[in-house]
């Protein structure tokens, strides 16, 4: 992919109708860790995998799962600082909306506003697009549960299950295979851990860490980031299962 002069700014389209800066941003997302969100029978699960960059790094410092409001969760990939900046923006929007209209921000409105924000970064000179995909999950009294994904281009859709990052294709296939909508959140969590680990197969020699959060009726539809100890145990178990499966295959 070469831009021939059209790839330095995103203020102009190339003759083929492409914006290269946006495509490069998508590239940054595609090569980063897998994130996914799945709608279940009684809630939503968000998850991400990540490689521990340095042995000297304090465990749990590299966070990718955030709360935006008490009932809205998000997970980001790509350039995580970009993602964080979007999350902070989301928190501001949520507080402002509540001050203005006296009700909690509906997840659909929040997603739409963040998508607009992302889109603004794809049309001006001098600023670059966000190099991040963000998955939003939330519950509100307008529409109930909602799962949205925003991509660097500002594209924003609602999903039953979505994935982004390096293991996107594999994760999407796996999500489509399993009928998560008939499954409770508790049943789905181990499966999702497995999907996330499979999605980073080629990196499995390095130390891997998962981050998972849920919104379900058992948490009172509040966003809850799962305990690190619990997730680490889950990871070990999932790794074992994957190895067993591979042994059987061989």
């Amino acid at each position: 992919m070469s831009g021939t002069g059209f790839d330095y700014e995103c203020s102009s389209l190339s003759p083929e109708g492409r914006i290269f800066q946006v495509e490069y941003a998508e590239k940054a997302v595609e090569t980063s860790s897998t994130i996914l969100g799945v709608r279940c029978k009684n809630g939503i699960v968000l998850g991400t995998e990540k490689i521990v960059l340095s042995k000297m790094m304090v465990a749990g410092t590299d966070k990718r799962v955030f709360s935006i409001t008490t009932t809205t969760g998000s997970v980001v990939n790509g350039l995580t600082p970009d993602g964080k900046s979007l999350v902070y923006r989301g928190r501001e929007e949520a507080v402002q909306y509540e001050k203005m209209f006296g009700i909690k921000i509906p997840i659909q409105v929040l997603a739409e506003r963040l998508a607009m924000r992302t889109q603004m970064n794809t049309i001006y000179n001098g600023i670059r697009p966000y190099g991040t995909s963000i998955i939003l999950a939330g519950n509100d009294h307008i529409k109930g549960l909602g799962l949205y994904m925003i991509e660097p281009s500002g594209q924003c859709f609602e999903y039953y299950g979505c994935a982004s990052g390096r293991g996107k294709q594999l994760a999407r296939n796996e999500i489509e295979k399993v009928n998560f909508r008939e499954m409770s959140v508790d049943e789905a969590i181990p499966l999702i851990a497995k999907i996330l680990l499979k999605a980073q197969e080629e990196m499995k020699d390095k130390k891997q860490e998962l981050e998972i959060s849920i919104i379900s009726d058992t948490t009172g539809y509040k966003h809850k980031i799962l305990d690190r100890v619990f997730v680490d145990q889950l990871t070990l178990k999932a790794q074992e299962e994957i190895e067993n499966e591979q042994m059987e295959m061989a």
Binding site: K99, M100, F101, G102, I142
Partner: protein
Amino acid sequence: MSIADLQNEIIPEVNTHSVQTDGTTIIAVKYDGGILLGADGRSANNMYVGNKVSDKLEPIHQRIYCQRSGTSSHTSTIARYVRYYMEIQANELGNLPPVESAAQVMREIIYSNKNSLSASMICSGWDPYKGYQIYQVNSSGYFEQGNWALSGSGGTFIWGYIDANYRENMTRAECKEFIKSCIALACYRDSSSGGCIRLLDITQDRVERDYVQYDDFKIK
């Protein structure tokens, strides 16, 4: 522009010396399958009845209405602001706005300007999320939700009547009679209420107005 506003323009000398107030009896009651709003028709400037048939039922959105009591200019301005906010919200939501939101916006306006405003309002209606709701914000910004709400100077005279006669899940016809007698009784004793009764029926499917003339007021 409401009739009251027109009247102020026609008789300017009345308005230069006094503020038009909705002395008012306003009442909102939830019945089985809807909400009925009722208001009297009198707006007075001190002793002078500025408007005999004013409309104190103000639309906020398709299924949200508010009722105004207090200084007319204040309350109609607040209603206009709330209407503006709800329109923005409905557009963004792509659906009917929540009644709670309209009431909260109203609370915010009244609470943060309580020393300069004289306004006590009821906000009620239907939305697809929580169904039929009635909220009330009084002049100092105290926010309440209930199955019925009562406000205005005339309300003072019929609290006991309502405590004794209100039942949950009345039929529409019963509720209408109840509200009519409430307002008729209030007009009987309150010098700031009178003129006519305006009724408004909000259901999921439609909004319907009704009018009762003074001759048809029943006290007993």
